[in-house]
Symmetry: none
Subunit: 221 residues, 2 copies
Amino acid sequence: MVEDEVRLADTVRRGLTDAGFVVELVHNGEDALWAATENNYDVVVLDIMLPKVNGYKVLEQLRERGVWTPVLMLTAKDGEYDQTDAFDLGADDYLTKPFSFLVLVARLRALIRRGGPERPVVLVAGDLTLDPARRRVERAGQEIVLTPREYGLLEFLMRHRGDTVSKMEILESVWDPAFDGDPNVVEVYIRYLRLKLDAPFNRHAIETVRGMGYRLDSEGG
Amino acid sequence: MVEDEVRLADTVRRGLTDAGFVVELVHNGEDALWAATENNYDVVVLDIMLPKVNGYKVLEQLRERGVWTPVLMLTAKDGEYDQTDAFDLGADDYLTKPFSFLVLVARLRALIRRGGPERPVVLVAGDLTLDPARRRVERAGQEIVLTPREYGLLEFLMRHRGDTVSKMEILESVWDPAFDGDPNVVEVYIRYLRLKLDAPFNRHAIETVRGMGYRLDSEGG
DNA sequence: CGGGTCACTCAGCGCATTCTCAGCGCGGTG
DNA sequence: CACCGCGCTGAGAATGCGCTGAGTGACCCG
């Protein structure tokens, strides 16, 4: 929660805590930016009028940095800005001061349940998509279920789609930076991936570059 | 940007320009196709509903023509198509109308960042290119598949293109600094390279400098 | 405790790749 | 013109990379 009026902030904090939320409170825009970027909150409550960096700027900055945590804005009733502005800026909800505490709680719950709006960060390679936020993989609109290891490997390949990556690079990133076992694991997991997302679709997105490593076709094979 | 609603288009254009983007605007699918094929944009903003050729077709056509500029699609909230479709077609991101302007800016920035870490590290000699990151060799736009040894040798030649390099230098760099076998391997592999990337194109990029070594023509032969 | 999933190991095999070798063509030299 | 040797070439042998199927142990769940 970001709120500079100490009295109000304290009251709301206590209320939210009683309602079962875990609350972290900062009092100015600068701290807000830092906290929201570093932590992965369920939801951010953001006042517009703030010292140093105002609420609008904070929101703008957050989105720009790829932080898509749901934001509920607190707006002054008759300020120079109106509610439309809040939505335009990418706020997910807003409340006009003075607001009913119960309404606040209800809306926060709704936001958390909703899980936030769109997630823009989706990796694409042809008809193959991977959504890191949802941990979801699809090929041609069809969901593909992967084990954690398989998923990790695929995510790595997709983040480097088009590039040839060596088995060692893979081991260091997907397994352990200090991995020292048999590099054959990579081959095995490449095979698992091929069985799940190439074979059923008669494609070959994952190419072997003999002597070098593997490459995920940017066009999905 | 491709958008037929003049009012919206104009607003967004101004906004993007203020945000530091250089914007080119067209109003129908036909112009969009032409513009995106001819120019090398950082990113394309594409509405689905368009006169003449709709957004889906435009995207499809672009990809078919090998244009891989990142595309952000604007979808109508409750249309017959859904977001999955956009991804299936190779869109890199999408936004549902009505959208927050700041979100648009943030996503565009993300796309540009993602799509264009640039790859200045591509070795060129005429119509011959070698991309170390992708481990990919092309001649006249056509991919050439090389074995690791062949690739290593070609990379060495291209890094010294124009220079005459002796067989010993090659052996020490491409083979082993302490190589002691038959220097004839180099001749053999030079031959393999010629067979793969000179003969099929009626060129002779790799020249023999009798008694000295080999030289790769900077203009590709 | 039994069934299932997941991570990983292991050994054999097929084949692309690497390298060796011997003969030949041809250019340079006396 | 004849000789020498560098580089070219085709064939074949050796190597080892990557693929695969089977199997084991850890862990979770009911």
